[in-house]
Amino acid sequence: MRLRLLPKSTVRRLSFLLAATVAIAGLSACGSGGSSGSAGNATSGTINWWGWTPTDTATADNYIAAFNKQYPNIKVNYKLVNISDWVAALRPALASGQGPDVFDVQPGAYVTEFKSFAEDLTPMAEQALGSDWKSKVAPIGISGLTADGRLVAMSVGAVYAGMLWINEGTFQKYNLSPPTTLSEWEHVCQVLKQNNVGCFVQGAAQEGFDQDTLQSIANSVQPGLWTKASTGDAKWNDPGIVQTLAIWKQMFGDGIMQTGAVGYQQYPDANNDFLTGKYGMVMMGTWYTQYATNKAMTAALSAAGVSGAKPFPILPVAFPDVAGKGNTSEMYGDSDFGLAVATKSKNRAAAETFVKWVTTTTAGQQVIADQLDDLPALKSVEPNLNVIQLVNPSSQTKPVQDLVTSVGTVTEPRESLLSADVQTAILAAATSVATGKATPQQAADTLQQAAEAAGETFK
């Protein structure tokens, strides 16, 4: 088909129109990409909150409903983003200016990564809690969320790890006691397997959860060694770390770890398998306390695809002394997450109102505490176990109360000292040892090289 050419005058008009359109589009693009947000109204407006946690929207909606009792004119939309997609989703959203007004920040690598997109919340903390605000909140929630002297996010609550959770019914049924040593652990697994019940389930394909187990093993080998390696005061190929990896390998060979663990993810695979009763033990932190309640356990069972299942009681138990050196179980923790206010938010004042209410008021922190997902950031607030409906209060109340009390003295960090590169290298070391591709010594040497290549310095 032959096209008829247009008269030149028409072409000129078209060219001008095209040029004008391009110019306007370019100007508008500059406008939307480069502008900062505006303060807006502190008591009304709509704000968007993005987070990977709370991991179910019902919990987030519960927080928002409590907030709206005091601030009914601020509408909060919660968007749950899977942790594996978090960076990919958040970075372009914040960079474009079309992202959330409030977003979750995890201590450690994410603070560095997103600090330029977040307001400094120090003035907000001082205004809400006074000039001595640091003495009123858990210190573990401040250091991990501060970068370059700026408070990138205000801690909502903390999580601690270093314990196991067991299915109480399974242990009672087979007359088992929680293991305290590696050999007892192996015995428990033998008994459960003889009865066609899985023993311990671990999502060894995910670095964060491998780190928890490795850090607990390392604390059994030499308390504090893991943290020393994280800060550069010890090397990752220290003999203690090599022994840690050797014990980790032994857990695969002796049948403690489930078959195919290195292909498992902690969420959803291991979590679902434990909650559906396929396994008797799992390595989870204090965030799992929520599943000691009827409400959260029922919701979790439903999410795991079990319809009409009856909630069962779970109990926290100390991590066994797997090195046999008599070292007691040390726990470690970080702020679970903080809430940051986006610099480009167009409703910054309302966003700050929401963050302030959740993180610094007694009402907000009590809602967080009673959810039993995070332990509250404010020191003055504790979960109200008289109100919370546990699945089996007679057996669960004391262990849960003991757990809440014991973490108050924890100072050892969990992940906040580790960069993303080192975490990846730890996962590579763990899986290469587990699959027999490397000896513990080789894996530890490779881990040390990777940490040095990532810019970590060692004494």
Binding site: K8, S9, L18, E113, G260, V262, T431
Partner: protein
């Protein structure tokens, strides 16, 4: 070529006859004074508005993006920081000493060879069978093709479940009395990659089948009849008459499979996250891992450039090989 260049002026001149009366007087004067050459120059800009959208898209999006990626590949940069550090070819040097990169390359080659061969075999077999008089042929065609239209994101959780230690595949093995073969298929380095290849073959055999099926409809019936008259059986007809006719289709499928292998991302990422222990890492998943979760945008860009070069070299090789064979024929 000479014929074409002679036709062009005459063709345009016809158009010029229609356009000239609508032009402003000044331009008409210029055109008249300049003769044929000047008139052609005056006409040239008129085509620009028509190709401008395509030109903007291709230059603005494609080539600009490639150029920008090449530039980023010389940086040590997290993608958002204000002060990227220039490292020249440092990222490329690191890549060539990176064992995970070489693992990814090996996986890609292995993946291409196995998936291409099995898909070709299955696709050809299905096409031959469904060209014979089979009852319910349409139903079989649909069954073979349905996996092509199912999104990997939907099927990935199904496969994760199916190949789990207590999944349906092991259940099937137990039911068949082959329980000793049951194992954690995606939870060990020795079997994870074969599982990824099996899923890919299941997913894409439908395309191979459709292309072979269509190509077989083009085979001259008289040639087939002549083969029959000469006493050729089914297999001899297939290998000596039909298969040579499928050469063009096979080359096209080889190119598609090779490019597909280089671009492989969705299935390994969704089913095994490139693991365990990088056992299913491909160039695509490694680029994503380095660029997004680890923020090594410069390193990821360097990997992307290498991927681009490999794809270009491969496409050229296939093209050259195809032309040489055509010339020999």
């Amino acid at each position: 070529m000479r014929l074409a260049s002679r036709r062009e002026p005459s063709g345009v001149a016809v158009t010029e006859t229609h356009v000239a009366p609508h032009r402003p007087p000044s331009q008409r004067a210029g055109a008249v004074g300049g003769g044929v050459r000047t008139r052609r120059q005056a006409r040239r800009p008129l085509g620009l508005p028509w190709i401008l959208p395509a030109l903007t898209l291709s230059v603005g999006l494609l080539y600009y993006a490639i150029g920008y990626t090449a530039y980023i590949s010389t940086l040590n940069w997290d993608g958002i920081g204000p002060n990227p550090q220039h490292v020249g070819g440092g990222n490329y040097t690191r890549i060539f000493h990176d064992p995970v990169f070489w693992d990814a390359v090996r996986h890609t080659v292995y993946f291409f060879v196995v998936t291409f061969l099995i898909q070709t075999l299955l696709g050809l077999t299905f096409a031959v069978l469904l060209h014979s008089r089979v009852k319910l042929a349409v139903v079989y065609k649909v069954i073979v093709f349905v996996p092509v239209v199912l999104a990997p994101a939907i099927m990935a959780p199904v496969f994760r479940h199916m190949f789990a230690p207590d999944g349906e595949f092991n259940g099937l093995l137990h039911a068949l009395g082959l329980g000793t073969l049951a194992q954690p298929w995606i939870g060990q380095t020795s079997t994870a990659l074969p599982v990824i290849m099996a899923i890919t073959i299941w997913e894409w055999t439908g395309v191979t089948f459709v292309l072979y099926y269509a190509a077989m409809t083009q085979v001259d019936q008289s040639v087939l009849e002549a083969a029959r008259i000469d006493g050729a059986g089914n297999l001899r007809t297939l290998f000596n008459v039909i298969w040579p006719e499928m050469r063009g289709t096979t080359v096209a499928l080889a190119i598609l499979s090779a490019i597909g292998a280089l671009k492989t991302f969705d299935v390994p990422y969704l089913v095994t996250i490139g693991g365990p222990n990088y056992a299913t890492e491909f160039l695509g998943t490694y680029i994503y891992r380095m660029t997004i979760p680890l923020d090594h945008v410069g390193y990821g860009a360097a990997l992307s450039i290498i991927l681009l070069v490999v794809a270009l070299v491969m496409a050229i090789l296939f093209q050259v090989a195809g032309r040489e064979r055509k010339a020999r024929d």
